[in-house]
Symmetry: C2
Amino acid sequence: MAFVGAPVSVGRLAGGRPDQTAWVGSRIRAPGAAAARRRVVAARRGAPRMDAAAPESSAVPAELMQTGEPFTDKAVNTIRFLAVDAVEKAQSGHPGMPMGMAPTAFALWDRHLRFNPRNPKFINRDRFVLSAGHGSMLIYSLLYLYGFASVSLEDIQQFRQLNSATPGHPESNDTPGVEVTTGPLGQGICNAVGMAIAEAHAAATYNTDEFTIIDNYTYCIMGDGCVMEGMSSEACSLAGHLGLGKLIAIYDDNSISIDGSTDLAMSEDTSDRYRSYGWQVLDVPNGNSDLASIEKAIEEAKACTDKPTLINIVTTIGFGSPNKGNTAASHGSALGEEEVALTRQALNWRYKPFEVPDEVLTHCRQKVETGAALQADWEALFARYAAAEPEKAAAFESAVVEGALPGDWEAKMQAFAADADGMATRKASAGLLQILAAALPNLVGGSADLAPSNLTLIEDSTDFSATDRAGRNIRYGVREHAMAAATNGIIAAGYGLRPYCATFTIFTDYAKAAMRLAALSHLGVLYVTTHDSVGCGEDGPTHQSIEQLATFRAMPNMQVFRPADATETAAAYAVGLHAKTTPTLLVLTRQGTGKLDEGSYDGAKRGGYVLSDNSPDGESPQLLLIATGSEVDVIVGAAKRLRADGLTVRTVSLPCWEVFEAQPAEYKEAVLPPAVGRERRLSVEAAAAFGWSRYADHAVSIEQFGRSGPGEEVLAYFGFTPDAVADRARALVV
Amino acid sequence: MAFVGAPVSVGRLAGGRPDQTAWVGSRIRAPGAAAARRRVVAARRGAPRMDAAAPESSAVPAELMQTGEPFTDKAVNTIRFLAVDAVEKAQSGHPGMPMGMAPTAFALWDRHLRFNPRNPKFINRDRFVLSAGHGSMLIYSLLYLYGFASVSLEDIQQFRQLNSATPGHPESNDTPGVEVTTGPLGQGICNAVGMAIAEAHAAATYNTDEFTIIDNYTYCIMGDGCVMEGMSSEACSLAGHLGLGKLIAIYDDNSISIDGSTDLAMSEDTSDRYRSYGWQVLDVPNGNSDLASIEKAIEEAKACTDKPTLINIVTTIGFGSPNKGNTAASHGSALGEEEVALTRQALNWRYKPFEVPDEVLTHCRQKVETGAALQADWEALFARYAAAEPEKAAAFESAVVEGALPGDWEAKMQAFAADADGMATRKASAGLLQILAAALPNLVGGSADLAPSNLTLIEDSTDFSATDRAGRNIRYGVREHAMAAATNGIIAAGYGLRPYCATFTIFTDYAKAAMRLAALSHLGVLYVTTHDSVGCGEDGPTHQSIEQLATFRAMPNMQVFRPADATETAAAYAVGLHAKTTPTLLVLTRQGTGKLDEGSYDGAKRGGYVLSDNSPDGESPQLLLIATGSEVDVIVGAAKRLRADGLTVRTVSLPCWEVFEAQPAEYKEAVLPPAVGRERRLSVEAAAAFGWSRYADHAVSIEQFGRSGPGEEVLAYFGFTPDAVADRARALVV
């Protein structure tokens, strides 16, 4: 069926210079193809600068834009015009990318992508990531055409409207069928790398010689922006290293970005770059109408099992728009009524806005049936698997289907913590991780080249690698942003993995955009960060977190845990693991912490609790000292000194504000009694005090960058000693 | 002199497999060199996994480690042992990198780098960036040996001690001679790209056919970590595009990172990758002792004027240490007393800790004289230039020497603002930028592919490009992190440029680590960010800033300005430009803002001011409404409604907290009178309220992620209308 590879005439819409070269679909890898592509690119790149200000008109005969297959043309143009019309109605959005990528998307979804529209979470589906998330109308059109319940034609007409299923950028929470939330460029391809890691690991975990339960590809469409973002370089270098053969990235090489021609800022040879990463690179010189070549490239990509593949598809942004095609004018704005009419004319599209040809819808909706069959076949396979491999099947059910957290790991963590005597919380974390890893085989993770510092290796496992897919330790290299974004992909892929990732607290700065997407997308990632604050010592201010706590406390749906000792660290892990839709940031010390006699697992699980209070029953203390992390020990010492002076003092540990704020009002008031006003409360935290005025008017904090020196000395320099804190507190009651 | 290229035997210290291949210095580009290098790398990479846990001992004869030049050996080993001894004394630091890179550093500093030790700011010096900042003892050793006043031998003995001139990572504030603060990996190479941009621009600005006033190279040493970080990919792709021929990056290819062998996470062909960016790539297979090849490569790099050069130098981390060389054990820890002794033995080093051979110091200190002569020559040149080109010389004196901000641009900005009727603050910014650009020829900047959205093009200039070095508009592509870090380099380079850079407010998330270094390093960068908060509308939550204001308000030495109208935007620019040691983040709207009758330029320059107050003289208002940015207009409307109900209300605009907090207490209390307690104050800002409890107990804020929809609708959805705010406020006085 479909996609005849016979010679056809194709045209570029570039600035009035249609390229009349005839491409033959089957020539994609034949000699001359590369030269042909170079010719196109050269012609396009040699064009006068194209931007919104200076579109050039072009009258390309409609027949030059066709694939040679009337039905295929109709289907492709249906996708194009759903995007054009939805953006036009919203008067907002990005029509150009879907217009250029419609042929590729149709080839991929119609012929290759395995999915079940009526169960977007079908476990053995192929994953599809639209890393170029601004082209959201592309995926909404596909979801509608192929019969996903999440997107109706009405939803498309509500594109970019408040609380619609079709927001400006694809959001996984809002729209089942959207695997990951994209839009911030570069994130999607990194997610896709994580998804391919997860697939390989799940396949190694559950498949047997006889039964292939997990076997799917991860496809990702990315544009020039994704290619330019450094995070994609990180992730794709890693993907090459890991030999993720089932990752297929499709580069929409349209040479236009918001500023205009990509020539303004980019002249690298992207294909060579991906080859340097160890990828297979395939070229499709004419992505506008040569579907046979697109399909052939996808086949080749699927056949290459030891390397990820980049398919470099040359397209024309805004394909079909006579005046705005191949210009930035079609990138991020509605085409305008007149240009929409001209585009209809150019592509010979006789349908009304939002009208979908019956035969196209009928054709696409066959996937509802074939998708159901795909799932039924898999379920039958799984039934045989369950009979033959009951243990593996049970593990699969537990981790993948139920997302269960079985076992007595909480009790074991508490027992471990009870024995831990004033160790660094990163060391406590290391011990706790081993307990968790033993109980939860779906716990995987790694560090951005700080494993010996973060202490995050699972001792009883190996490194996930090109030759060892069962390994649970992922070596991300010095690539924090890709790590965090890949971790989003690992969890979003839906194989039941619970991933953690690790770096120094300060280097969350490199990963913040990806961590925000975890919070926005409700992904329960664990961030294990160590060497927090000035206590990390000699590395100095470049390595000492100051404003990072405020940054993540201010972020919606992110839990920040700064535990004071092993017990609180155990509680942080427990809260983090149970929070399946909220990521958790653990902020741990490099240095040893004091042995905290009053540390409470249950209290920490509530986010905050009273450590001690020497005021008589029924009376309020004169002073309230609140601290987190390594400074809890400092307030314990300060309180001793103050009490020795005859003062009544309450000490409070507040390891997680977000969890504490979610407690009932009576609990919160029992911990922080309104009777002790903020003017008699002192917060003690080795970080910027920003935000603390919610709880206390006085703060021992750090309102500058840190200092290089032995950690204890630097802490003392900034006033984090029991004596200095006691002095500050005394002044509040004078 | 020096560096004889005669055949010598050299050895690798890798796990007991010394490579006995003889390299000839002059063979660097000869046939066989690449093969030799591959052999070394293969031998090293094929080695069993090397990490701290499993060092293998190796007894390499001392003579294999020598360059063939006794004096050179002595100088190189002086650098090595200053690092070894300083780290040993501190019991903290990174000895391995300086031990491996000492030969390269010596070759570069002794033979190529032009500098004046007694004036680290000599304008026509070559710039040297240690992007692998953890190897800080390398640069401290060099600064001491070559006679910089900033680092004495005592300072080296105080390595990593509190308030020393030799902090853990090099800091430009603490140590003159350190061009930029490094440590967070990848930053330095991006700074270097910015410095090379600045040099090219300054040369185009000030040089004439007759007079070459500005002519210098930017050298940068980077390690595996810098190479892996995505930001370096962004910057180096851009550098290739811009053809920055005077940028020379030296890659310390030692194949060891903190986790162990880089094989754990990296198998890309980095040289090919840089070629794909359009760089010249040179290989030095033996960076441990083949100084002639190192020098030859530097010569070749300098000779290539149209492309940046990567010199890939294969070295052994911890060179000379029998048990820890070529292992991660030498990366980030002191070698230990015993191993230090063994290293002395292996390298035949008979000097005591911190002892510097007289002849080495005498040799190096010659640079004090030659550096002074270099500057004297330049000054003589400049005198002739000043006579021949008085206008250019005056411009140079003003911008570069004085850092002046001449002209009546403030008055013109105010006049522009007075005429601006309720326009989007990004549009006001666009107009103001033109005024500034006309007055300040040293203002340069660009956007990360959002110029048409940020509205940040200087209309009366061209694009800075490979063929137009005078252009003031920099097209960064979709590379926010590299943009921010390159901007740090543009200002730090010291040519008097005042750079701005632009993106959406949300995408500061991508650039945060570099923005933090601007704050830490006292670089007065202007960040022009637009499309802030949910007012940007349809792009939805992935594009709507929520916690970004808190993030940057919590950061030390960063000014966050969220102006309400054109007048406040003008004030923000003025404050930002005058703040030469503090970066300023402008947070601007996509959408139009109301015309603010009470907007005050002087008030905004103080960070906050009273808009209006209808309470009788001598009385306090019942309510205080505080807002920033687009919400100021909302509280103006709310106050009207409340006053119509007979309430007394004060409205306050607080565009910049940091500037406001720096005002005298009486001013602050005049704006926010203590008599109106926080319980009767309402903050109104379309962002997380985190931090606002400093000023008000009640907030109209956004405590979740945003929504996709028309901006006005989304703002209304979250309660940002005069009516909704008035309702919230009324409840406070019931």
